[in-house]
C-alpha cells in the first residue's frame, strides 16, 4: 500500500480516475481482505503452536515444580516408587554424551567442509556434499538399529579394550567393555551431527570473499596457510554457530541414544558405564508413568530440555547470521 500523500496528489493533478478499475477493486476488496486474514491466521498459528508448547509444558510440570523446586535439578535420586525425583543423572547424561559427540564430530565435520570448499576438484564437490547430507536423512531409529548390531559389538570387541589399554590411567575408561555405554551414545551422536556441522561450515566458508583467498595467496602463502589465515579465521563465528547448532541437535536426539546408552540413571566417571539422557527417560517412561507427580516430573524434564535447546539454537542462529548476513542457515533438514 502506497502512502496516502502521493495518491492525493495524483487525484488532484490527473484527469478523473477511469471508473472500470475502481469498480473492479471494490469488488475484489472483500476477497482480498479475507485472503489476507486467512494467511495471517496461518502465520499466527505458528506463534500459537509455540505458545501452546510453552503453556502445556509449564502447566503440566507445575505439580513437580511445587513438590521439589530447584532441588529437582540438583538431586540425583530417581525413584518412581517412592516418588522421589531428581533430574541430575539425566542432565549429566545429556551433557556428557553431547559434549563427547562434539569432541568427535567437530574436527571431522570441519575437515570435510574445508576439503569440499577449498581442496576438492569441482567435479566431486556436488556428490561429496550430497553423500554427507545423506547421513542427515537417515532416521534416528535406523541409526539406533545399526548401532545395536554393528557399532556396539565393534566398540566392545575392539575399541573399548584398546582404549582401556592405552588410556586406562585416566580412569575415564574403567569397567567392563560391555558396549552399551555413554561412549556408544557419544559416537552415534557424533555420526548424526556431522552433516549439520559440516553443511553449515561449508555455507559459511563459501561466503568468505574470494579476494581474501587471493590476497593471502598473493603474499606467498601455501594452500593450507591460505585456508588457515584467509578462510578459517574469517569464518570463525559462523563455524562456532554451526557447532552450537549441532550441539542443539545432539541435546534433543532421542531414539538412537536410547537404544545404546544403557538407560541407567547413574552418574559415573567412566565413559564405559551406562547412562541415561533427558530425552531417553521421556522416551522410555512417559507412556508408562503412573501417578501425577511422576508424569509431572517427566514433563518438567521436557520443559528443561525445551528451554535449553531453544537457548542453544537461538545463540547458534545469531552466530551464523553474523557471518552469512541474514540468510537463514538450513541446519536441520
Amino acid at each position: 500500500m502506497p502512502g496516502p500523500q502521493p495518491v492525493e496528489q495524483a487525484k488532484v493533478t490527473a484527469v478523473p480516475a477511469p471508473p472500470a478499475p475502481l469498480l473492479r477493486t471494490s469488488s475484489g476488496e472483500i476477497p482480498d481482505r479475507v485472503f489476507k486474514s486467512a494467511m495471517t491466521a496461518c502465520g499466527l498459528a505458528v506463534l500459537a503452536v509455540l505458545g501452546l508448547i510453552i503453556y502445556e509444558l509449564v502447566q503440566r510440570s507445575g505439580l513437580s515444580w511445587h513438590a521439589f523446586g530447584f532441588k529437582f535439578f540438583a538431586a540425583s535420586e530417581w525413584d518412581p516408587v517412592n516418588e522421589h525425583f531428581g533430574a541430575l543423572p539425566f542432565i549429566f547424561g545429556t551433557l556428557v554424551s553431547s559434549l563427547l559427540a562434539l569432541l568427535i564430530a567437530v574436527p571431522l565435520a570441519v575437515g570435510v567442509a574445508v576439503f569440499t570448499t577449498e581442496m576438492c576438484p569441482k567435479v566431486f564437490r556436488g556428490p561429496l556434499s550430497f553423500f554427507v547430507e545423506l547421513l542427515a536423512a537417515i532416521p534416528s531409529v535406523i541409526y539406533g538399529l545399526w548401532a545395536i548390531f554393528v557399532l556396539v559389538p565393534i566398540l566392545s570387541r575392539y575399541i573399548q579394550p584398546f582404549l582401556q589399554k592405552t588410556l586406562g590411567w585416566t580412569h575415564l575408561f574403567d569397567g567392563p567393555p560391555f558396549g552399551y555405554s555413554m561412549l556408544a551414545a557419544g559416537v552415534i551422536l557424533a555420526i548424526m551431527i556431522i552433516p549439520i556441522i559440516s553443511s553449515i561450515t561449508r555455507e559459511v566458508l563459501m561466503v568468505v570473499p574470494q579476494h581474501q583467498r587471493e590476497a593471502v595467496l598473493a603474499l606467498g602463502a601455501t594452500r593450507w596457510e591460505m585456508i588457515r589465515i584467509g578462510v578459517l579465521r574469517n569464518a570463525r563465528a559462523g563455524i562456532v554457530g554451526g557447532i552450537i547448532l549441532g550441539l542443539g541437535r545432539a541435546l534433543g536426539e532421542t531414539m538412537a541414544v536410547t537404544m545404546v546408552i544403557g538407560n541407567r540413571p547413574e552418574i559415573a566417571k567412566s565413559l564405559f558405564a551406562p547412562g541415561y539422557t533427558m530425552a531417553s527417560v521421556l522416551a522410555n517412561e512417559f507412556s508408562e508413568a503412573t501417578g501425577d507427580v511422576y508424569l509431572s516430573a517427566l514433563v518438567e524434564i521436557g520443559l528443561a530440555l525445551f528451554f535449553v535447546t531453544v537457548v542453544v539454537n537461538a545463540l547458534a542462529q545469531l552466530l551464523v547470521w553474523t557471518v552469512t548476513r541474514g540468510q537463514p542457515a538450513r541446519g536441520s533438514a
Binding site: 475484489g28 496461518c42 505458528v46 532421542t254 539454537n313 537461538a314 536441520s332
Partner: protein, 294 residues
C-alpha cells in the same frame, strides 16, 4: 597475457620452505582422511542395511500383521499402512498451514509480526521431537482419553510447519516482482495474483520444501511413542492407536528375537527407500525447475 606476467613474477619470489610445504601436504592429507572417516559410517550403514534388509524381505512382510511373541513369520503390513495414515494426517494439517504461513511471510510479512513468526518458526525447528510428542499427548491424547493416529499426525504436522513455511517464503520471494505487478495491472485481485501467479510460478520450489519436511518426519519415532503408540493389529481409524513403521522398528530392534531383528532390518530398508525416493524426487525437481536453491 596475464599468465606470462604471473610466471615472470613467480621466479622472483623466494622458494617456499620445506617445513611449510610439508605442513601443506600433511593438512591436505588430514582433510582427505576426515572425508574417509565421515563416509565410512555412511557406507557401513547403507551396506549393512541393504545386506540385512534385502535378505529379510519377503511377501509376508508386506501382507501380514505381526505374529505373537515366539511365533515365526508375520510382517509389518499394518505398520506400513499406519505410517501412511499418520503421514497423511500430518500432511493434511501441516501443508496448508505451512504454505499459508509462508505466503503470509512473503507477501504481508515485512513487519514486526512477520519477524516474530520467522523467528518462532526457526525456534520450532530446533525443538526436540520428543518434546513435541509430549505436547501432542497433552492436547490430543488426554482430550480423547486414548492414543490415536490423529495425535501422531498432529505431532508430525507441528514438525512440518516450520520447514514448509520457511521454504515457501524463500521460494515466493524469488518470484520477480514484475510478475505480481503485471497481474495487478491487469486488474487481477491480490489474492488471485498470489495464488495463480506467484504461488503457481514457485510451485516446484514449494513442493521441494514440502517433500523435505515429509522426508524429515517420515522417519520420526520419538513423537509417536506416546501419541500413535503402536498396534499389533490392523487399524484404519484415526482415533485409535495405530502402528507405524519407525515404532515397529524400534520395538523389534530392542527385542531379543532373531526373527524380529530380521523384520526390523526389512522395515528400515523400506523406510529408507521411502525417504531417499522423496529426496531424490526433490533433487530432480530442483534441477529441472527454474526455482529452488535447496
Amino acid at each position: 597475457m596475464p599468465e606470462t606476467v604471473a610466471i615472470g613474477a613467480r621466479t622472483t619470489v623466494a622458494p617456499i620452505s620445506l617445513r611449510r610445504r610439508v605442513t601443506d601436504h600433511v593438512m591436505t592429507g588430514v582433510a582427505i582422511l576426515t572425508v574417509v572417516i565421515v563416509l565410512a559410517p555412511l557406507v557401513a550403514i547403507f551396506g549393512y542395511l541393504l545386506y540385512r534388509g534385502v535378505g529379510s524381505m519377503n511377501w509376508a512382510f508386506f501382507t501380514e500383521t505381526p505374529k505373537p511373541v515366539g511365533e515365526q513369520g508375520g510382517g509389518m503390513a499394518n505398520a506400513i499402512v499406519g505410517s501412511i495414515v499418520i503421514l497423511g494426517i500430518a500432511s493434511l494439517i501441516g501443508v496448508p498451514f505451512g504454505v499459508g504461513a509462508g505466503i503470509y511471510l512473503a507477501e504481508f510479512g515485512r513487519n514486526r509480526l512477520g519477524k516474530a513468526i520467522r523467528f518462532t518458526a526457526d525456534v520450532l525447528n530446533g525443538v526436540p521431537s520428543i518434546v513435541i510428542g509430549i505436547v501432542a499427548y497433552a492436547i490430543v491424547v488426554l482430550y480423547q482419553k486414548h492414543f490415536s493416529a490423529l495425535a501422531g499426525g498432529v505431532a508430525l504436522a507441528i514438525m512440518m510447519v516450520p520447514t514448509i513455511s520457511r521454504t515457501t517464503e524463500e521460494m515466493l520471494l524469488l518470484v520477480p516482482q514484475s510478475l505480481r505487478e503485471a497481474a495487478y495491472g491487469l486488474g487481477v485481485p491480490y489474492w488471485r495474483t498470489t495464488l495463480s501467479i506467484t504461488l503457481r510460478t514457485a510451485t516446484s520450489g514449494v513442493i521441494t520444501g514440502i517433500m523435505l519436511a515429509f522426508a524429515r518426519v517420515a522417519g520420526e519415532t520419538a513423537p509417536l511413542l506416546f501419541t500413535a503408540f503402536g498396534n499389533q493389529y490392523w487399524n484404519l481409524r484415526a482415533d485409535q492407536p495405530t502402528a507405524a513403521l519407525p515404532l515397529q522398528i524400534y520395538v523389534y530392534a530392542n527385542s531379543p528375537y532373531d526373527d524380529w531383528h530380521r523384520q526390523a532390518w526389512a522395515g528400515s530398508l523400506v523406510l529408507i527407500i521411502l525417504i531417499v525416493t522423496a529426496i531424490a524426487a526433490v533433487r530432480y525437481a530442483v534441477r529441472r525447475g527454474s526455482f529452488g536453491t535447496a
